[in-house]
Symmetry: C2
Subunit: 213 residues, 2 copies
């Protein structure tokens, strides 16, 4: 079972690392970070680079494809080399997955056409414009396509996937060992729950300005 | 406000990246990943390297110190160069923090003596042996020392810290933008909640065998 995590300049770190941390504990899984070229890839904040151990060409047929998002997604999604790799990998994958605006990369490659999917709450309309049907759920399964909402939601997605792939006991073991027993001190993690004036402030921003999503 | 995240061979990725993703969004913060030498540092799984942009010597006085854990913590905690940096940085820090077995590194450096603290649920006794008083809480504040339980708990710690440093509204905004509205499909994230036979299985393992924690 090979899991490929795509990196591109400006990716959001937790989008990739959240699900990675859990999925990589799947017994027998080999996880590899890939990018257009092997080597360090800098994130959206600019303060961290992750190393892609392999180029896209070296990992053509992963079993699980994981695409993170980031404010640079809009550049990445129109990159012909990225699109070609997504389509090729998707053709033989068992699961094709994304976190946050990573679903825009999948959508632009044409693999979400007519499918239920999700993305960061500020990007629903962009996802719809790419042919998918956005839902407000945190993790959306449509066949082998699994998309998660913003940034931290990839952790929940990974637990769902572990359960489907290896059964409840493996998923629960990973949850126990990573102590994923969330106790946030606020309840502001979705536009339905956050203070209305904060949501309104961000809805008023142009999507292009989301330099930190 | 400078935030330094320590990397060492065998660190657990989410321990570092979970709180980083949230804390780096603090207005005006500069975040830097540090290690004994600048350059790529490989994680516990072996499948990912993060780049430390600076050496320890280059970042002697961060405002926030963040120490992740990992199965190699026991080697790192006895490293004289790491211990010296932790003590020096702690002498002038505003907050000294850890996730998972990162508290063992703080403990071995002598900065948690007599303090309430926490760690991964399988490492309480090791933490006690280093002079701290382990508690079962997910995030423990004792003065400027903030320690979090296993792996994923650093995200909750970061939200608490954001609230203390910048106020509830900044913390809630970060929670909203990272969509931290956890909805795990299982409720097995602590030894009190997980199926008893899974907990017993891991308690029976020697701590040294926790190659994936």
């Amino acid at each position: 079972m090979q899991i490929a995590v795509l990196l591109f300049e400006g990716f959001t770190t937790l989008d990739a690392v959240g699900p990675y941390e859990l999925l990589a504990r799947l017994p027998g899984a080999e996880t590899v970070f890939v990018a257009k070229q092997a080597g360090p890839v800098r994130n959206d904040q600019g303060s961290l680079a992750l190393v892609a151990d392999k180029s896209l060409a070296e990992v053509p047929r992963p079993d699980i494809v994981l695409i993170p998002g980031g404010p640079e997604t809009r550049e990445t999604m129109h990159d012909p080399e990225i699109q070609e790799w997504v389509r090729t990998a998707d053709a033989t994958s068992t699961w094709t997955t994304s976190v946050c605006t990573g679903s825009l990369v999948l959508g632009a490659a044409g693999v979400l056409d007519g499918r239920r999917a999700t993305t960061h709450w500020l990007a629903y309309e962009e996802l719809r414009a790419l042919g998918a049907e956005p839902t407000g759920e945190r993790v959306v399964f449509d066949g082998k396509y699994v998309t998660a909402a913003g940034v931290s939601s990839g952790i929940d997605m990974a637990l769902h996937l572990l359960g489907r792939i290896a059964g409840d006991e493996v998923a629960q073991t990973v949850q126990l060992l990573t102590e994923y027993d969330p106790q946030p001190p606020y309840d502001a993690g979705s536009p339905e729950k956050a203070p209305a004036h904060l949501v309104a402030r961000w809805r008023g921003e142009n999507v292009e300005s989301l330099a930190r999503d």
